[in-house]
Symmetry: D2
Subunit: 377 residues, 4 copies
Amino acid sequence: MRAVVYRGAYDVEVVEVPDPSIEHPADAIVRITTTNICGSDLHMYEGRTSVEEGKILGHENMGIVEEVGDAVFWVKPGDRVSVPFNIACGVCRNCNLGWTSFCLKVNPQEGMDGAAYGYANMGPYAGGQAEYLRVPFADFNLLELPPGDEHENDFTMLSDIFPTGYHGTELADVRPGHTVAVFGAGPVGLMAAHSAFIRGAARVFVVDKERDRLQLAESIGAEPVDIAKGDPVEQIVDANKGKVDRGVEAVGYQAHDPTGEEHPEMVLDNLVAVVETTGAIGVVGVYVPEDPGAANELAKTGRVAWNYGQFFANGQRMGTGQCPVKRYNRELRDLIVAGKARPSFIVSHELSLDEAPTGYENFDKRLDGWTKVLLHP
Amino acid sequence: MRAVVYRGAYDVEVVEVPDPSIEHPADAIVRITTTNICGSDLHMYEGRTSVEEGKILGHENMGIVEEVGDAVFWVKPGDRVSVPFNIACGVCRNCNLGWTSFCLKVNPQEGMDGAAYGYANMGPYAGGQAEYLRVPFADFNLLELPPGDEHENDFTMLSDIFPTGYHGTELADVRPGHTVAVFGAGPVGLMAAHSAFIRGAARVFVVDKERDRLQLAESIGAEPVDIAKGDPVEQIVDANKGKVDRGVEAVGYQAHDPTGEEHPEMVLDNLVAVVETTGAIGVVGVYVPEDPGAANELAKTGRVAWNYGQFFANGQRMGTGQCPVKRYNRELRDLIVAGKARPSFIVSHELSLDEAPTGYENFDKRLDGWTKVLLHP
Amino acid sequence: MRAVVYRGAYDVEVVEVPDPSIEHPADAIVRITTTNICGSDLHMYEGRTSVEEGKILGHENMGIVEEVGDAVFWVKPGDRVSVPFNIACGVCRNCNLGWTSFCLKVNPQEGMDGAAYGYANMGPYAGGQAEYLRVPFADFNLLELPPGDEHENDFTMLSDIFPTGYHGTELADVRPGHTVAVFGAGPVGLMAAHSAFIRGAARVFVVDKERDRLQLAESIGAEPVDIAKGDPVEQIVDANKGKVDRGVEAVGYQAHDPTGEEHPEMVLDNLVAVVETTGAIGVVGVYVPEDPGAANELAKTGRVAWNYGQFFANGQRMGTGQCPVKRYNRELRDLIVAGKARPSFIVSHELSLDEAPTGYENFDKRLDGWTKVLLHP
Amino acid sequence: MRAVVYRGAYDVEVVEVPDPSIEHPADAIVRITTTNICGSDLHMYEGRTSVEEGKILGHENMGIVEEVGDAVFWVKPGDRVSVPFNIACGVCRNCNLGWTSFCLKVNPQEGMDGAAYGYANMGPYAGGQAEYLRVPFADFNLLELPPGDEHENDFTMLSDIFPTGYHGTELADVRPGHTVAVFGAGPVGLMAAHSAFIRGAARVFVVDKERDRLQLAESIGAEPVDIAKGDPVEQIVDANKGKVDRGVEAVGYQAHDPTGEEHPEMVLDNLVAVVETTGAIGVVGVYVPEDPGAANELAKTGRVAWNYGQFFANGQRMGTGQCPVKRYNRELRDLIVAGKARPSFIVSHELSLDEAPTGYENFDKRLDGWTKVLLHP
């Protein structure tokens, strides 16, 4: 089959590779109909990870079940399914508690909980930017979708970023009537804004510096805050006549100020300043324990010198980490079917698998209007 | 001042009474701008309670603060406020826990927790269908509103039925993506349906037999279920392709079947049947410990012979009781201001105080289109 | 192998039956070391169920893994395990939400969620009062125990009644500092009292009429309430100087008054009366949708005419249903290992498998001191 | 009356001052029977705050109501009461939500939520290390105690450190069966360990370097971890055969390594390392937004360069801030009365008011055995 593989920094290629096959009785093989390029794929693309050459990329996958192992009793060939980016065993303590993003069994690397398709350090699993994908523990991991091809571009958001944005609002404990500040208007930030409204938020502010992204935020009723126009905390407090109830971090450690300089503590500091005392903050933007390419010594070891004293003085709380997709994808699917959610509003480009290298290049350059790229193998 | 007083069964009158005054340093006097007739006022109107002759009715009140006592430090004359129907002391254990509807201090009647304005058995407090109202523990009880007269017909729902409908969805633990069945399309049921959508419900079914009310449900995106057309459980299961996640009871013990016969167990039985195993049911329709006018011996002593064995076998859960308005009214106000909630969609008539008797009579007869009556003194 | 089989009312026999074998790749075979007779086994023993003749009884099982299927990757032969009485698939929505007691896949009977070993209407699964037991979805269902034979009589409570008693306190939302009334001092009620203290209850009242059981309650610091001595509600309110915060129902529909008459509504009425307004009630005593042998017409169809009007007026809430053992058994195991829980305090008799008929007979007669019977095959 | 006043660094004095009086109708005057020296009083004592000269110190107070204002309707002269260290209005949004530690009304300083008796930056309120204390909003703030003098040394912990330790376990979401690491065996850490057991923890590890404190931890069943003996994370992981479920920070920004050097990030780093992925951490040790006396530039502005990247990678969550005493003190009182809690185990010294200077001096020097000092005026 054909698949997108990693060759080196700024180099992905579409090549012929062997088809995947059933390796364990609980496996399934899924024929991919849509697979997205994720912002976190760019970490690998830019060469800032230890991903091995030849790895098939792609963790945002959906498609049709092609074949199942002997122990699979629920899903069956022909089923249309969404594949959560987390690979989870379904039987360990973390899976029992709904934390499939921290499954204790699937990552053979010592001390690492959780695994994913086609991703650095997340286990030896091939990605889905390909014609076929092997899915372990298929009954547990796969989400059934209505047959046919309706809502394809909405459903494809269920494998990662829609639940991830939603997770940000869950970690931030967003409730009806709340005011919310979302930092970052990339795909995850936009999904967090969409999710905040689904949960009944009264007002949502979205902070970024990219015009096209801020316009997308505005298109769903959020209030755009352009950091080029001044301190985002002041802008929000002015517009909201006070601080907000909740905050979501959807930027991560590679936060840049308007001049383009990297400041890993910047977004956390802004959240501490803009959220009310006793308020909650959900962090789904990625921070890493080690980053050899970081701007300073602290950041290289994952240390971030943010305004922790003020955080404590404010009595705030914070939840973090990778999203356990299964916890949310069923209800988000039902909202799509009912017409109450439409995450496809961020899709800017649909390409064939062979056009993947162009997709990576333009998305990585953040060319104007390249918000979200789907590949249809 | 002029006020609506109870004279006897089917007899209310607008008469001159003495103005209220500050009786305790924590009191305030509110000049009423809008006060609604509530479905539960009709229990008194129909003579099925022990309310004393001469009582000023009205517990759904809003207006402008006219005067405050010496201990009042927050609200001040000129403030526009909503008055929750519950009177609460703010310092007892139940108030501390947010259960202002079961305040331990304000009802002098032995063994009764909770009080209200102008209501049978809810303490010696005059109602607000009048020009002025005395509000105890004013700082604790009053909710500030934006000055002016904008959103008057939305804000007037904050004193009771909007929070009460919302409470039904809270007791039923409605979450994003859920399917919900609301029994009863009276004002509270319609507010529950509105609230379910605010909380992110995917689909909401509203069950009733009145055409005009079902049309209002439909106008906000809910799916009307007419019990005249057949078993509501079957209709919902058919439309939803299965049972629903959550249920709300907004009818109460005076439930009637399509032939008009009273069946206090009917709605509970339907909820047990239509809600999924492990699902939750919120009950805000009123059931009473004693009802001398009830249809049978059991019901006279508040006993309801519903399908409890099936409820247990289904592993369902249920919350009940009067709404603690303060727990919700701030956030619901903010949703109105932000344009995310518009509870005034149920208002059918706006009358002067002097027209109250007509309002009572027509609302009690459930004349077509008399959904919700506001009085503007 | 030898096994306890049902022959008819008041007739169980120990006979030779074929050994169980792996039927699906996710199965395991467990060699039983301890299996208990449960109070709910007596429903079958007394002939009040439709259980088929020849069924192997026993759903409270523990032992050593003997053999596993090809898809089993976690447990392995030689592991010491506790077997939750619920059989659950691990992949359906209810299992995902932690409701293994209402698994959507394992019970082939139309409209029935949930399954169990050796039980009427709970699927075609043989029980564990035998030398060996087949366990479906073994990785998901089995709980690992420390190797050896320490704590055997404590760990054997993990398959059902310790989690079930705990579930009662969870449904009742028991928190540190609460006062709690537990109705029923049978094994489940005693486990509920033990659990209430583990959760930090200040005072626990246990209501029953059997002396030996009340003494066991007293032995763990609970306050016994003997219904033969007067109204239990009055006794508790007197001792506690007021109502209690929480209540647990551990009796079920076969509640008897002191004269021995059956009153299915009696315990619910007492709970409504003894629990504070806004308080919560957890119901783990069994109520059934149909009971041909019931005392009256209502009860035959699962209807219970309890004091629902007062329940609503009190703003109380209630959770019900079979316990999802997996939700609690890991933490309860850890409390046993740490010496913080000792559920074996209720064990009165340890018999060989061949002595099972005697165990059934004496336990069913509630002979003095026959509180809990263990069988060691 | 006589009172302990602040004179300057390392200088407190007992002097005659005017008696307090009713200033607002909701005030009460309390005659102090016991008032404790708190570890946080030492921040002022050491001159590391901006507290004004002449301030009466003391925020851990209890006593007998002497006089009440006109608006007080609940407490009355002669009542024995505990005085939470937080002063709260009872009517603002934070008070409504149970966050009395962040009351929006009582602190006149711009941008500061929350107030306390006798404390730097916490409003103009005199402390209770004196014969009498003025208590604002007395009905809301005071907790009733049983009359008499029983449990005096237990009840005196209800004003601050017992609830504060408990708050640490609440922020850390400690549940039955959990393993917990508490960093810091000062009074608050010991109360957190006591609280963890009350909530059903299976095992509690307490980390410190002071022998006498570790012995106190051991006396309640916790497992002492002496940082002088090696890396506390390794010691805990070895003893627990793995990481712990939950962590509590009871040290604060002035953490010292075994050599005595100050490392504000040390305890947070250890918590991130010792708590399981997805685990929760409660922070009640104090961190400050500004600390002119701090060890380095970052710390002077409240910045702490802890291992945030690992925190995110672990998917952990964290709650922080001053304890809202009212949320817990009622239930903790009931546990003391029921004999289930005995926080007085930490009391080492009981002095008269005039001996306060000696108490401050010895407690500040952490003289061996000076764990907790009570003053009885």
